[in-house]
């Protein structure tokens, strides 16, 4: 693996996506401020806004760094550089995940900190929040993998829709798992084995997705 070239390509995507990254930080900060303001309505509005910001940046990154690169014919420029398609795949996976994880980590850590806020604690929501935040990460990985493997705008948009729908169904299902739902209203953290199993399952699925993406990409014969 040509690590230097992978690094250069990741840096390129960071530079070209800098306004999107900035916009998502601004959006995230506004949502967190609304949540911090307190009240049930504020909490819900802020939460929905925060989820929207995270889902949007994941989708936007996949579309603009992978699908648009092919559509706007900048891919031949990239592939004329001393890089193999395997390294291109690595740069896109790592680049997208790195950008997303920076935003995601800041937002998730801030959200968890707000839930643990000592004057108005909602620690019971921490397991549910962690599971759903990881679900957004998983969804982003799925969208990036779909964009890379299919190289198609249609399939990528389809994956974004599936991820959004799945998020709602998954959230509903998790909120009704007995030993997770029981602790959600509590001011104290109640971590259960169900939460652990779900989180481990999500991270395993992410690892599987990344592995499958490299597997399918390595079988491709033609890159343009």
């Amino acid at each position: 693996m040509n690590r230097r070239m992978i690094g250069r390509l990741i840096w390129k995507d960071w530079y070209l996506q800098r306004w999107i990254i900035l916009a998502s930080f601004v959006g995230g900060a506004i949502s967190l401020a609304i949540i911090a303001k307190g009240g049930k309505a504020g909490f819900l509005v802020g939460l929905i806004l925060l989820i929207t910001v995270l889902v949007s940046i994941g989708a936007q990154l996949a579309v603009s760094t992978i699908v648009q690169e092919r559509k706007e014919q900048t891919l031949p420029f990239v592939m004329s550089l001393p890089i193999s398609y395997r390294e291109y795949t690595a740069s896109k996976m790592l680049g997208n995940l790195a950008i997303f994880l920076v935003v995601w980590l800041v937002m998730v850590v801030s959200s968890l900190a707000l839930l643990a806020y000592p004057w108005d604690p909602h620690m019971g929501l921490i397991p549910f929040t962690a599971i759903m935040a990881t679900e957004i990460l998983l969804g982003t990985c799925l969208v990036v993998a779909t964009a890379l493997i299919t190289e198609s705008q249609g399939w990528t948009i389809g994956a974004i829709m599936v991820v959004n729908l799945a998020f709602n169904f998954f959230g509903y299902w998790v909120a009704h798992i007995h030993n997770i739902a029981n602790g959600m209203e509590s001011t104290k953290l109640m971590w259960t084995s169900s939460a652990s199993v779900l989180l481990i399952g999500e991270f395993c699925t992410i690892a599987l997705l990344l592995g499958l993406t490299f597997f399918f990409q390595s079988r491709k014969q033609d890159f343009l």
Partner: protein, 298 residues
């Protein structure tokens, strides 16, 4: 030192509606090859295989001594590539692109890049989306040339340009190449462009290479002979006949193996050579393609 910059041997690539067939091609170091073919003849597929972007089904490809596509990363360190379908990032400036390429290629020649900026009448601070098509082609050429590649691959760089921009790009390219010793593969369906730049010519049609030689050999050996035959006389034997046109007693014979002695041979057999027409590269290409297609049908 490897004498061949590019070596294709028995390369095949099959698609659903197109097949690249048994491509064997040598490009010696230091030469400029014009790669001519109609749209859809297989030029871009061949070049993509050369660049390691498409994997051949069969055959071997070596570029600058590297096996392709396996060693494409090393090979592409010394290749400058510009293609008709290549775009730069519209939201970034040309200066950003230059800095990006400089950070990748250690041989990036900053004074030369500055000189090219001036010669191509470009400004580093211009955003790519604000450039005309001709300026974008020049920007891509600048990025390819200033990395000082051993091999320059130009895949239809002048396609889509208006006549003025095409002339400008070609003029600048020729001026740049005049004082350089590079190996260049220049593909185009425009024979005039290729004729100006190349010293070797390869014709490709329907996925097959149909002819390849020095440009001067093509221009020296391809001729149209306008003959006048006496009544009831047969057409004399002329080597390398590709096409016979004209009327019965006034045939026009196109040959790919012309030599002055042919005139005497025709006269000896009773025919009169009324004129010997030289042929442009375009005429040679068209006659070559048509005769090969007729051979395939036969």
């Amino acid at each position: 030192m490897n004498e061949l910059a590019v070596h294709f041997e028995g390369v095949n690539k099959r698609y659903a509606h197109f097949t690249l067939n048994d491509i064997s091609l040598d490009l010696p170091t230091g030469s400029i090859m014009g790669f001519i073919g109609a749209n859809g003849a297989g030029k871009s597929t061949t070049i993509r295989i050369l660049m390691g972007l498409v994997r051949q089904d069969a055959g071997s490809v070596r570029v600058l001594g590297h096996a392709m596509p396996a060693e494409q990363t090393s090979a592409k360190m010394d290749i400058g590539f510009v293609s008709e379908d290549m775009r730069l990032y519209g939201a970034a400036t040309l200066g950003w692109h230059m800095e990006f390429i400089r950070s990748i290629f250690p041989k990036w020649d900053a004074p030369y890049a500055t000189d090219l900026l001036r010669r191509f009448d470009l400004k580093a601070e211009q955003k790519i989306k604000g450039l005309s098509h001709g300026q974008r082609v020049k920007a891509a050429l600048l990025l390819a040339l200033a990395r000082r590649p051993k091999l320059l691959v130009l895949d239809e760089p002048t396609t889509g340009l208006d006549p003025v921009a095409r002339r400008e790009v070609l003029g600048e390219l020729m001026a740049v190449l005049a004082d350089e010793d590079r190996t260049i593969l220049f593909s185009s369906h425009n024979t005039l462009d290729v004729e100006q730049i190349s010293d070797q010519i390869t014709f490709i049609d329907r996925g097959r290479i149909i002819d390849s030689a020095d440009k001067e050999i093509f221009l020296d050996r391809w001729r149209r002979l306008r003959l006048a035959l006496p009544p009831d006389a047969a057409l004399p034997h002329i080597p390398g006949v590709v096409e016979i046109g004209g009327s019965g007693r006034l045939p026009v014979v196109t040959t790919k193996s012309f030599e002055p002695g042919m005139v005497y041979a025709c006269n000896d057999s009773g025919a009169t050579v009324q004129a010997i027409d030289t042929m442009t590269l375009e005429e040679i290409f068209v006659a070559n393609v048509q005769s090969r297609r007729q051979e395939q049908i036969a």
